[in-house]
């Protein structure tokens, strides 16, 4: 079995009196797809926000490749190789589809405002590679034909793919997908499942928060079930499907 790439130790997040994450322990193995599931309010999105530095955990720690990332700012964590998408697609609407993906190259490039203003040779060369990589990752998510469309004009399903393409352009170590199938039809969801498989084959570790159980059971190597901010179960899809605690939470208790 592959080594652990992302490890959470006793992660706790409180909002006022509410405990959103309650001393959570888990590890994600390199090159796998780990799904995080649980009822609404279980703390799934909070977990993603803590992992990406949107909020800092109240206590506990998260380590990427053995170095602590919890408490760092979002942009610092991004630089260390964690990319994400959002539950409500956060595309940059004033730009073209290609430009959105080009933003994904931010951490891999370095020309500042002055070099850009003077349009130095270094900047123009860098700009060409950013554009090439952008087009490449647009093709990976199948949006190559839409490159020069305004991003605001594409439908929601396409926006989700665009977000994934943008995150892939950062060539991350870990990719977090926050409900990528929300708002997609069956056909689109099936294509998404295939895409996630492709991403795993690229060597990227994927963590996915998702409600679509069919998709989760189909693509996940491991599943973490949250309930009220605590770990309810953790294991392979077969293990989770057979777990009486999970069945109780999802289907109600049999008297």
């Amino acid at each position: 079995m592959a080594e652990t790439i992302l490890e959470a130790v006793r992660v706790r997040k409180e909002f006022g009196g509410l405990v959103a994450l309650c001393d959570l322990d888990f590890g994600v193995r390199r090159g796998t797809v780990t799904a995080v599931i649980g009822p609404n309010g279980a703390g799934k999105t909070t977990l993603i926000n803590v992992m990406t530095g949107v909020t800092a955990p109240t206590s506990g720690s998260i380590a990427l490749n053995g170095s602590i990332i919890s408490g760092l700012k979002s942009h610092e964590i991004a630089r260390l190789g964690i990319a994400r998408t959002f539950q409500t697609a956060q595309i940059f609407s004033a730009m073209t589809v290609l430009e959105n993906v080009m933003v994904g190259r931010h951490t891999k490039t370095g020309c500042g405002m002055i070099a850009s203003a003077l349009s130095l040779g270094r900047m123009r060369r860098e700009e060409r590679t950013i554009c090439d990589k952008g087009l490449y990752y647009l093709d990976v998510v199948g949006l190559g034909a839409l490159a020069h469309q305004p991003a605001a004009s594409v439908p929601i399903g396409t926006q989700r793919l665009l977000e994934i393409g943008r995150a892939l352009a950062a060539e991350p170590v870990v990719l977090l997908l926050d409900e990528p199938a929300a708002g997609l039809n069956t056909q689109e969801t099936r294509a998404l499942g295939k895409l996630i498989g492709t991403i795993r084959d690229m060597g990227i570790t994927v963590i996915i928060v998702e409600h679509d159980m069919e998709l989760v059971m189909d693509i996940a190597d491991e599943i973490l079930v949250l309930n009220f901010g605590s770990r309810l179960a953790w294991g392979t899809p077969e293990h989770i499907q057979a777990s009486p605690e999970v069945i109780e939470v999802y289907l109600g208790k049999e008297d």
Binding site: H75, F86, F92, V103, C111, S119, R166
Partner: protein, 320 residues
């Protein structure tokens, strides 16, 4: 591609170069100088507001700081223009940096109110420091700009200076917008959280663009002071900040030509409407209202939409 991208600017430059040759009335030349100066100020403000989505109601303060800095140094202390200019840029950038760090943690209305307060503070300071700035009666006797022995001592020469500076800044600004930094700026407008998730240091970038836009305003202020040889605290007041902002909204936010169009319109309109002097503000307000209601992307946005519509119609006819 490169030529196509720069074609509008080249045409504009040619037009700007020959325009004064055909002008008989020096009065109009003066107006064109002001349009150029305001276009420079709105270009910076457009970077901040139109592209990065951060409002400022205090940019007149930086405009006045620039004007006072070179004005005082050249008129009172006999410093040459170029060193005075460099000093003015450094001072304004430093002040904008400190203000930016303090204010840019705020968003929306709060940022608007904080920058408004900054403008007022500068206004009050310029009024109060009578011994230094001349107080409410202003600073007179600012000399013409002199660079390497050449003096820009007529409106005609000054016109070319202002528009040359404008074109240079336009090229630099357009380069920024179409680069890695420019894309990062435009991200802030739509989603700061997504920008941060892509590795963009949001706070740092906001302060950077605030400082940059303040320097543009200061440059415009410098040109203004040396062109009218006089500067008073009036030019740092809220009315002027609002006027700059209106120029961008009317012309088109997030469009570099929009700032120029807005500057031209809001400089020419008062001249044309001077016959209605008592009702000037009402007409002004109505124009703003109509544009905000019907052309949320400003006049340039409206023109673009119209252009696209015509192209589609022509194409449809070509097919049918």
């Amino acid at each position: 591609m490169a030529i196509k991208r720069h074609l509008p600017l080249m045409l504009f430059g040619c037009a700007a170069a020959v325009l004064p040759l055909g002008l008989k009335d020096p009065y109009y030349l003066g107006i064109l100088v002001f349009i150029g100066i305001f276009s420079i100020a709105t270009m910076g403000l457009n970077l901040l507001m139109g592209y990065a989505g951060q409002i400022s109601l205090g940019h007149a303060a930086f405009y006045a700081l620039g004007a006072y800095a070179t004005g005082l140094l050249t008129a009172k202390y006999n410093v040459h223009f170029l060193p005075a200019l460099i000093a003015a840029i450094i001072v304004t950038a430093a002040i904008a940096y400190v203000i930016g760090i303090a204010c840019l943690r705020l968003k929306g209305h709060y940022l608007a109110v904080a920058t408004l307060a900054v403008g007022e503070i500068v206004f009050i300071c310029l009024n109060a420091a009578v011994g230094f700035t001349g107080g409410p009666s202003g600073l007179a006797g600012i000399p013409s700009i002199e660079i390497g022995g050449f003096s820009f001592d007529s409106d005609f020469k000054f016109y070319y200076l202002v528009w040359a500076v404008f074109i240079l800044l336009f090229i630099l600004t357009a380069n920024i917008i179409n680069s890695r930094s420019g894309r990062a700026l435009r991200c802030l407008h739509s989603s700061e959280i997504a920008a941060a998730a892509m590795g963009i240091n949001v706070t740092k970038l906001k302060v950077q663009v605030f400082v940059l836009s303040a320097v543009y305003a200061a440059l415009a202020g410098v040109l203004y002071g040396h062109s009218v040889t006089f500067i008073s605290p009036q030019s740092s007041d809220l009315m002027f900040s609002v006027k700059l902002l209106t120029m961008i909204v009317v012309g088109g936010m997030g469009n570099l030509w929009g700032g120029v169009l807005g500057a031209a319109l809001l400089t020419l309109l008062p001249e044309m409407l001077s016959a209605f002097h008592d009702y000037e503000l009402i007409i002004y307000g109505s124009i703003l209202l109509v544009i905000v209601m019907f052309l949320p992307d400003g006049l340039m946005g409206g023109f673009e939409a119209l252009g696209n519509k015509i192209i589609r119609k022509v194409r449809a006819r070509g097919r049918g």
